[in-house]
């Protein structure tokens, strides 16, 4: 079969798009394509006559003109959200004729900062206030003495983070103060966005574009139509009510893990996804937990409350709209102060991060011993956020289906067992056939390379999810690239996720090689990083031949250890010094040959 390009594949199901049209489209240049995309998006909602009024030949000419302001848009992205915002900001600025450079913190040279009149930084923070992998070097550099003076430069910083972590948006804060210190002045004030960032971020970029226009008027105002080019029918805010068709436990009885394979029916949603993308799940809070919270506070379950200009019963609101499983420092402090709880204050001061690992709102309420009105409680809680799971299927192998692989999370504390929101909802409260609200969350930074490239996948535990998707995709495409998987879990007998599928892939030759590490099957614990080291020569050979290296799963231990092993392999096998090895890895990142989806 002749290999199809992605557009041809994507449009294959629409019979009235012929090959000639596609051929013409693929011959167009970038600005023509952008305009056409905007035109098409407009067509989807307006009649051709309405659109003709907007798209004039002069508008097209204006596009390529450009203006005098040179702006740098710099993103430090972990999952691709910051990159996405940066790209849409660039589009928006370019459509108005501004000349911009879009760069990742991985690629930017420190000295070049002073070449720009405006520096926009969009930075996410992950873990305990750490910068994304791609930003570590730049982060250290900009805080170091080598950083150039930026007198006369303007900057704007947007932070992405999660307020349930202690060091909320720390990377953005640090960048902001570093730029200030170097002499730059803010064009607009920094904004720290929480997980629910889309609307706020959009408002901020709009504000920024306005502020730029104030110092340098745009050369083009009529091409606003290129914004929001691709409209998906369902989104985070407007999720699709999909049918949960299969709930299958993967780990066998006796396992210390409780891992599930879920199949979700996307029929008639038009939703699509690629390998590496995540599925967003809107889960309801546990009914029993909500009742326990209300009982603890002596609040009537039917008490009426207002939330975002709507009225709810407090019970319904807690179940569907408010966060009650994840704690944040502000909440604990507020409740501690209100109830005068010394114990709680001590927790926030001394062992906060240990505490929040296995405690939830209910535990804090028990310690706080406070009296709250229903509406007061609402004011203290954050809105419920969706949970993201790496997709473990390929849509080409499973049309109109999406699969995810997850651990049912539970932690015991002195008062009982606390469950993870979505994993408990999906595996304990829903049954096969029930509906669940989902959307596709794209991850630009975790993607398969072209089909002839070799890939090394390191995915212990549920980290195997995207690699199951990768393998299915490569099977569907009959991709020629070699595939090497490293998998690990505690026990071979009970925890070899997707064992029979992987055996088939190995037999068919789709999997070139698989190495497994079952940590608890022998006295000495063995992990994927140990298997990497055992295969050092071969890993090095694959890398030198251009292989792409992927890691998915636990960030705090596994991904760190894997990176250490990888650096060691680069150092020893390639006869490199430590800093040469670091540089080698950096180059891999730059070429998108080292990609991580870690959490």
């Amino acid at each position: 079969m002749k290999e199809q390009n992605p557009l041809q594949r994507a449009t294959a199901r629409f019979t009235n798009i012929d090959g000639e049209l596609l051929q013409q489209v693929s011959n167009l240049g970038p600005s023509e394509l952008l305009l056409l995309a905007g035109y098409c998006a407009g067509l989807a909602e307006h009649s051709p006559a309405q659109l003709n009024a907007v798209v004039t030949p002069s508008a097209v000419n204006e596009l390529s003109k450009g203006s005098q302001l040179r702006a740098l848009i710099l993103y430090a992205s972990q999952t691709g959200n910051a990159q996405e915002i940066a790209e849409s900001l660039q589009q928006s600025l370019e459509s108005k004729g501004y000349k911009t450079n879009l760069e990742s913190t991985l690629d930017i040279k420190l000295a070049r900062l002073k070449d720009y009149a405006l520096i926009v930084v969009i930075a996410s923070t992950h873990g305990e206030g750490e910068p994304p992998d791609d930003a570590i070097d730049f982060y250290e550099a900009v805080l170091s003495k080598k950083a150039p003076s930026l007198n006369g430069v303007k900057h704007a910083v947007l932070g992405l983070g999660d307020s349930s972590y202690e060091f909320f948006c720390q990377t953005a804060k640090d960048f902001d103060s570093a730029l200030l210190k170097l002499g730059s002045v803010p064009l607009i004030e920094r904004l720290d966005c929480d997980v629910d960032y889309q609307q706020e971020a959009l408002n901020w970029t709009t504000q920024l574009v306005g502020a730029i226009a104030d110092i340098q008027p745009p050369t083009l105002t009529t091409a606003a139509l290129v914004e929001n080019i691709i409209q998906f029918p369902y989104s985070k805010e407007k999720p699709f009510a999909a049918t949960l068709s299969i709930i299958q436990k993967l780990t066998a009885p006796g396992s210390i893990k409780d891992t599930y394979h879920l199949e979700i029916d996307l029929a008639s949603s038009g939703l699509s996804y690629g390998p590496g993308d995540a599925l967003g799940i809107w889960a309801d809070n546990d009914k029993a937990l909500v009742k326990e919270i209300l009982a603890e506070l002596n609040i009537e379950s039917q008490a009426r409350v207002r939330f975002k200009d709507e009225e709810f019963s407090i019970e319904e609101l807690l179940r569907k709209k408010l966060e009650i499983t994840l704690l944040n420092k502000g909440l604990i402090e507020a409740l501690a102060t209100l109830g005068g709880s010394q114990k709680l204050l001590e927790i926030t001061e001394t062992y906060y991060s240990d505490y929040i690992r296995n405690h939830q709102l209910i535990d804090v309420l028990k310690l706080a011993n406070v009296t709250l009105e229903a509406q007061q409680l609402v004011a203290m809680l954050k809105p419920l956020k969706p949970r993201l799971y790496s997709i473990s299927s390929s849509i080409d192998e499973n049309p109109e289906e999406v699969h995810i692989t997850l651990n049912h999370l539970q932690d015991e504390n002195e008062d009982g067992i606390r469950y993870g929101l979505a994993s408990h909802f999906l595996t304990r409260q829903l049954e096969e056939g029930d509906k669940v609200n989902v959307y596709v969350d794209r991850n630009k930074n975790f993607k398969l390379p072209s089909s002839d490239k070799a890939i090394i996948m390191v995915g212990p535990g549920t980290g195997i999810a995207p690699f199951r998707s990768f393998l299915q995709q490569r099977e569907a495409e009959q991709a020629k690239g070699r595939n090497w998987l490293f998998f690990g879990n505690p026990n071979f007998n009970t925890d070899f996720l997707y064992q029979t599928e992987l055996q088939k892939h190995l037999k068919s030759g789709l999997l070139t090689q698989i190495d497994v590490a079952f940590s608890r099957d022998q006295e000495q614990k063995i992990y994927v990083q140990d298997r990497l080291r055992e295969n050092a020569a071969q890993v090095w050979q694959w890398l030198e031949q251009g292989a792409f290296f992927y890691v998915c799963g636990d960030m705090s231990r596994m991904a760190k250890e894997v990176e250490l092993a990888l650096l060691q392999i680069i150092e020893q096998q390639g006869n490199n010094t430590q800093s040469q090895a670091k540089e080698y890895l950096k180059q891999l990142k730059k070429q998108a040959r080292y990609q991580r989806d870690v959490y």
């Binding site: 299958q248 071979f492 070899f496 064992q499």
Partner: protein, 570 residues
């Protein structure tokens, strides 16, 4: 030994069964076992190697209770291995027993299984632990070579120790015979003990393709037929004259294995074909093995046992060919008398001033349970016991050669751990034998070990009704017709057909020299009890003095006697 008229069998790729191909291509039992053991993606080994590991005393199995759930969970079956040690005559020293039990605790499902052929079995050993378990067994100077496979397997010998000197002498012959007929390939040492690769150039007795089928040998010391000597391919009956072993009667052609609904297959009791003096024992055994090597059917495995070879040749022709192999002829058989094939439980003192205690081990399973901490108790006993442990052909255990000094201590450990020596169970329970069957045996069609105790309890209720509880009746149950618990020699035999369904056989002799016959086919528990009830009632009313149940049902015409295997289906 004369080889003039002998033509050794050659492998024929066209007509021979696939197992013959695997053997001939295996480089003397090596195959790719070594590679398979270190393949981390599966708990199994490849199909061809599964045939070969039997020669090393290992079967690949899986937990059949879990198969379906694991398939849905995208996990392969829970593969594990059954290991069988070769224990000639069933005798292990106390020190050996300790090591074997510790291995069970560490690497298998926590139990030791005594078999109907006087071997120890470990169930549920995962592939990653296989090598160390085998090495552990080897460290006791026991091994697993030829415990299964198309070779002569563990050689049995009567374990009841009435005359300890004769027992010792016969046991030594069993051991010598087992050693003599072992395969000589170095594969075992290379694979399991990291031995140097030594080129095997020939198997002096077996050749490249070994035997066409398994081969079982036993030696009985009358009056005990606890080894079921008639169920063996090759049997010897010790002939004692004035307290001295003067030689052995030779028996050939016994065997239990059949296939359901295939009248070409049948169980057969062995024929007594003559007598030899002890010094000729090895020569006779080797000649029978060579004859079977050359004349056995290599095309159809289910017709490959010696019993079919003999019936194909006719017993006279067989004896004549055997004389060719021997270069001489056997003398006429001597007379002997058996009185039963069960075990005699409890304490016994022998002429050497040592004590022996025969324990009742339900279905041969040594395990700790709420009723009895048998496993721990036996380990504690092994700690102080200076004699041996002997496995009987009925899957029981004899603590043997207990010194008068330790007798008291052992006695108190026995009661402390709730270990049975047959004092409270009914004779019918004490004379019951079941094979392993579910969940580990891949051949099982119905339960055996896990179910027979319940069925016996229900049978006991009926027996009690007719005041028959004191009457020993020999009951055998297997999960399939291959016959591990020798079901066709049970006065009442049950052979599994499907979950909860059994064929009911009646009419074997109590001493194990007459087969039973199919009485009812494919019946469930209630039907079994309904069929047995009137028979027991009649037996209670009409039996002659001392008449066994198996003899009674024949005399009364409930079932026709099976005089030889060919009558089994008629």
């Amino acid at each position: 030994m004369s080889d003039t008229k002998i033509s050794t069998t050659q492998y024929d790729a066209v007509t021979h069964s696939d197992v013959e191909r695997i053997k001939v291509q295996s480089d003397y039992l090596r195959g790719s076992i070594k590679d398979g053991l270190v393949d981390p993606i599966t708990g199994s080994i490849c199909d061809d190697d599964q045939v070969l590991i039997k020669f090393h005393g290992i079967y690949q199995q899986d937990d059949r209770d879990l198969r379906n759930d694991r398939r849905k969970a995208k996990l392969e079956p829970l593969y594990a291995f059954m290991i069988r040690a070769r224990v000639p005559g069933g005798v292990a020293s106390s020190g050996q027993y300790q090591v074997l039990a510790e291995l069970a605790k560490k690497y298998s499902n926590g139990s030791l299984r005594l078999t109907t052929r006087q071997a120890f079995q470990w169930h549920g050993v995962f592939k990653r632990n296989l090598k160390r378990t085998i090495a552990g067994i080897n460290s006791t100077l026991l091994d697993t070579v030829a415990a299964c496979g198309d070779v002569n397997r563990n050689v049995m010998a009567t374990s009841l120790p009435e005359t300890s000197e004769i027992h010792q002498e016969v046991y030594q012959w069993a051991k010598k015979l087992s050693e003599h007929l072992l395969p000589k390939s170095n594969a075992f040492h290379e694979i399991w003990l990291d031995g140097e690769k030594v080129e095997t150039t020939e198997e002096p007795i077996y050749g490249k393709t070994y035997l066409p089928r398994k081969f079982k040998t036993a030696i009985a010391i009358p009056p005990n037929n606890d080894v079921d000597v008639y169920a063996n391919d090759l049997g010897f009956i010790a002939i004692i004259d004035q307290q001295k072993l003067i030689g052995f009667n030779v028996l050939v052609g016994g065997g239990m294995g059949t296939a359901h609904n295939d009248s070409q297959t049948y169980p057969r009791v062995a024929d007594v074909i003559g007598f030899c003096t002890p010094d000729k024992l090895l020569e006779v055994a080797e000649s029978v093995v060579r004859l079977q090597r050359d004349y056995g059917d290599r095309k159809v495995r289910k017709l490959a046992r010696l019993k079919y070879t003999i019936d194909r040749l006719g017993i006279d022709q067989f004896k004549s060919i055997l004389s060719d192999y021997l270069g001489w002829s056997l003398a006429g058989a001597k007379s002997f008398e058996f009185n039963g094939n069960g075990d005699r439980y409890g304490w016994l003192k022998t002429e050497n001033n040592k004590w022996h205690l025969t324990l009742y081990i339900h279905s041969g399973r040594i395990i700790d349970s709420p009723q009895s901490t048998l496993f721990s108790g036996l380990l504690a006993i092994a700690d102080i016991h200076q004699g041996e442990f002997r496995i009987t052909g009925n899957q029981n255990l004899i603590i043997s050669n207990i010194t008068p000094e330790t007798k008291q201590q052992i006695q108190s450990l026995i009661s402390q751990h709730g270990i049975s020596f047959g004092a409270v169970e009914t004779p019918v329970r004490l004379n019951s034998v079941a094979c392993v069957a579910f969940p580990t045996c891949s051949l099982a069609m119905a339960e055996a070990e896990r179910y027979l105790p319940d069925l016996i309890s229900k049978i006991e209720v009926i027996l009690d009704q007719y005041n028959l509880l004191d009457q020993p009746i020999n009951i055998r149950m297997t999960g399939c017709p291959n016959g591990c618990a020798r079901p066709f020699l049970g006065e009442i035999g049950f052979v599994g057909k499907a979950p909860g369904k059994y064929n009911l056989y009646l009419g074997a002799s109590f001493k194990g020299d007459r087969l039973n016959k199919l009485y009812k086919e494919n019946i469930n528990e209630q039907q079994i009890l309904d069929e047995l009830n009137p028979l027991f009632k009649d037996y209670a009313d009409q039996r002659s003095k001392g008449e066994f149940f198996g003899d009674f049902v024949i005399r009364k015409g409930y079932i026709r006697p099976v005089v030889n295997g060919l009558d089994f289906h008629g």
